[in-house]
């Protein structure tokens, strides 16, 4: 049963990829190769790669630097900074882009794209960097000092080395996020692969070409995975013992206090202050707009329905996937679990295109139905659900089920009375994560939404494209409120890590 359910989830993940390939072949190899090897493709590739490399590097520097300042220095108000630095994660990338461009329309092109994506994605490095720093045994640093290394050498040769897997993991997420992003690049009018594919499909109505280009995008994602994952996993950086850890020694900033404070202040104002301030500005100004106000409540209700459906489906799929991998561990179930995590590397656009290709051919009634959009969300955010459910299942060891069985209960009864109550809170977290991510999803929604149905993200997008910033602002505000919940919860955990490290 469990394995069957898991296999179904894996099949669902593979479905869009398979149809992407089938659709791309549609126009024949000649046409496809002409498309792939034309000059424009090379330009797109160059645009995408230089954006990914520079933004990822900037995110790494900002994320590690900020984490070090918060965790390892005598910076004033560390707990406040620990919270503020995470919060940009709670603002959808295209809303940060909107915040900047609506105030300063001349922000266009490469450097605007680099800036906006760096500001919205650096927390993906900051978070693991904080956790990584907290995991570095201070004794290692002390030993290095006693072996004749100065503070900076210790940072380079010991601290950074130890936190490298965590940082690289964060960089990988940044890279994948950059490859998948559409909205923010459209706002600053910067052409990457994703933007070009979207245009090709929406305006050119050329599904085959869009699918062929998507395959390049998937290849880029897999290249990023293949390039970084081995580094993330390399070596077992385990501590060699399990004794009491002592608090770290914080570096006295001294004369550097003011410059560091100014730097962090600038970062937080750019990533958080400008977008939020801009939203507030347009909310106030928007009151006098002459545009007919579409019903924000109807759109919010649509968003909630679709997201709840997706969250329920993704969580339901994640349970057999993780249960199979944890309880019936073999090559097949492990492979299924890996497959379920694969959508992490798939842009929403790619999943949407695959589903479009499938439904147009074999299931026309599904095309642009609510169910198809829900399935797309569920595939896209299945990795979030799997991670959440895995943590939940860890709280319900198989031994407890065995005890239940030995007390004369049937498996189903044991599951209901023992396992489910134990994993219920974790399932709730998984549900919430998928719900929140779905409710701010833009790219796949633009492609798959049923005719006449608008979500918060798509209606925001319509208004933004018409430069009706005042009308767009309430939608952005609502999305920020929704996605601020997990960011807030995360930042509270960060604050507690920062407190734990206090010496």
């Amino acid at each position: 049963m469990t394995v069957l359910g898991a296999a179904l989830a894996a099949a669902l993940v593979l479905l869009p990829l398979v149809f992407l390939v089938i659709q791309a072949q549609q126009s024949g190899w000649d046409a496809t190769s002409r498309l792939l090897f034309r000059h424009n493709t090379a330009v797109l590739l160059w645009n995408t790669v230089r954006l990914v490399v520079v933004s990822t590097a900037l995110c790494a520097v900002l994320g590690v630097g900020a984490a070090w300042c918060v965790q390892r220095t005598t910076l004033p108000a560390r707990r406040v900074w620990a919270v503020l630095l995470v919060l940009p994660l709670g603002i959808p990338d295209f809303v940060i882009g909107f915040g900047w461009v609506s105030l300063e329309p001349s922000l266009q092109g490469y450097w605007a794209a680099v800036m906006i994506m760096t500001l919205s994605l650096y927390p993906l490095v900051y978070l693991p960097a904080v956790a990584g720093l907290a995991g570095v045994d201070p004794a290692l640093e002390e030993v290095a000092r006693s072996l004749g290394l100065g503070p900076w050498q210790v940072f380079w040769r010991v601290t950074l080395r130890q936190m490298l897997p965590a940082v690289l993991g964060g960089c990988l997420l940044v890279t994948l996020g950059l490859l998948a992003e559409y909205g923010a690049f459209e706002i600053v009018q910067y052409q990457t692969f994703t933007v070009a594919i979207f245009t090709e499909f929406k305006l050119g109505f050329d599904t085959a070409a869009a699918c062929a280009l998507s395959l390049v995008l998937v290849a880029l994602g897999i290249a990023a995975l293949a390039g970084e994952l081995p580094l993330v996993r390399r070596g077992r950086w385990s501590r060699s013992g399990a004794g009491a850890r002592r608090a770290v020694l914080r570096v006295k900033l001294g004369g550097w206090t003011i410059p560091v404070l100014l730097g962090l202040f600038a970062l937080c104002s750019m990533a958080l202050g400008v977008p939020v301030g801009s939203l507030v500005y347009w909310l106030i100004r928007g009151g006098s707009t002459t545009l007919p106000s579409a019903s924000i409540l109807t759109d919010a209700a649509h968003t909630a329905e679709l997201s709840a459906g997706a969250a329920a489906l993704a969580t339901a799929l994640a349970i057999p996937v993780t249960a199979a991998a944890m309880r019936h561990r073999n090559r097949l179930t492990v492979l299924i679990e890996r497959l379920a995590l694969l959508p992490q590397a798939l842009p929403g656009l790619v999943v949407a295109l695959g589903l479009v290709s499938f439904s147009v051919r074999y299931a026309l009634p599904l095309y642009q139905s609510a169910l198809e959009l829900i399935v797309a969300y569920a595939i896209l955010f299945l990795p979030l659900a799997v991670v959440g459910v895995r943590a939940a299942l860890a709280h319900a060891p198989a031994r407890l089920e065995e005890v239940g069985r030995s007390l004369g209960r049937r498996p189903a009864s044991v599951w209901l009375r023992v396992t489910l109550p134990l994993i219920a809170p974790g399932l709730g977290v998984a549900f919430l994560l998928v719900f929140i991510s779905s409710s701010t999803e833009l790219t796949a929604t633009l492609l798959l939404r049923p005719t006449g149905v608008d979500t918060l993200a798509t209606q925001f997008w319509v208004y933004t494209s018409d430069f009706a910033y005042g009308a767009a602002a309430p939608y952005a505000g609502l999305m920020v409120l929704i996605s601020a919940i997990p960011a807030y919860l995360l930042s509270r955990r960060m604050a507690s890590i920062a407190r734990r490290g206090q010496a």
Partner: protein
Amino acid sequence: MSSDSDLWVLDLWKGYAAADPVLRGVNLSVPAGTQVAVLGLSGCGKTTLLRAIAGFERAQRGRIALGTRTLDDGQTYVTPERRGIGYVPQEGALFPNLNVQANIAFGLSRAQRRTKIVQELLELVGIVPLARRFPHQLSGGEQQRVALARALARKPEVLLLDEPFSSLDASLRVTVREEVSALLRRQGATTMLVTHDQEEALSLADTVAVLRDGVIVQQGTPAELYGRPVDAQLASFLGEANLLEATFEENAAQTVLGRLELHPDHTRAPGLKQGVVIVRPEQLLVRSSSADGDRRESAAGAGLAGTVEQCRYYGHDALLHIRSQQQPEALPLIARVHGEQALAAGTAVLVTAHGPVSTVE
């Protein structure tokens, strides 16, 4: 007899909360070439003391010096990397991403790495076949040896060891620490070892300094400490002890066990008539008695008649708790006897003491 690399700690104060300093004026000397153990319960400040000497913490008051070189006196502060003091932390703290060879070479310059230093150290601590292993592939004892070799690589003037054996299995602990101690002795290394294990301190060190509540209460050879502890608390901390009320005479003390000789170079306040002496369990001789003769001996002041109340058997020896017949309300005496001499509870015995005893406060 002062040398250039004696380590001195003079009136060292250090605290995290102003009202409650951890170190309250520590005085300690580690003469060059000797092994000193700092012994104390957890929370007594011994790790803070070690970290201040290594340079990871700064002194608030007082002075730490190596020979004539001041390391820390509240104003001057030499950073850890310039002190020339080696440090072996608890559990070794090997760099998990480096193999054994690279761990040992970590503090060496490029030029030094090309020499035979690393090879010699591998040979010295006996782990040549492990050179290319990673820390997680080593046992606890092997990790300790690597950590030691890594600290010795830079030829430190003083080596600090922070509870280096406490994380090892009981079976391994004794062998590893004896090997390490012998090795350091052969090297003529000046070492300071911090531990909470009195057996470890007494068996390894040339001198033991006992740290309690932020001050060194006594520093001396293991025999001095065990035989002549400054107070009752220290006496009990260093091992089982019988504390007996005594009336002092010229060079002796009159106790329930009869007249006991006082330690010759024992100083006690002149004119003190009443006090307490300490008698170690192994100073007591126990034999079973049923004959009337023994009771008469006891009455004559040559011993104490009692009953075995409890016997704890350890194999090589046994500890007996003996209740006095005359004073059943007093604390039982504790005697250490050979394993084969373990007596069942209820056995009537006669207890006598031998060897000099000393007074405690």
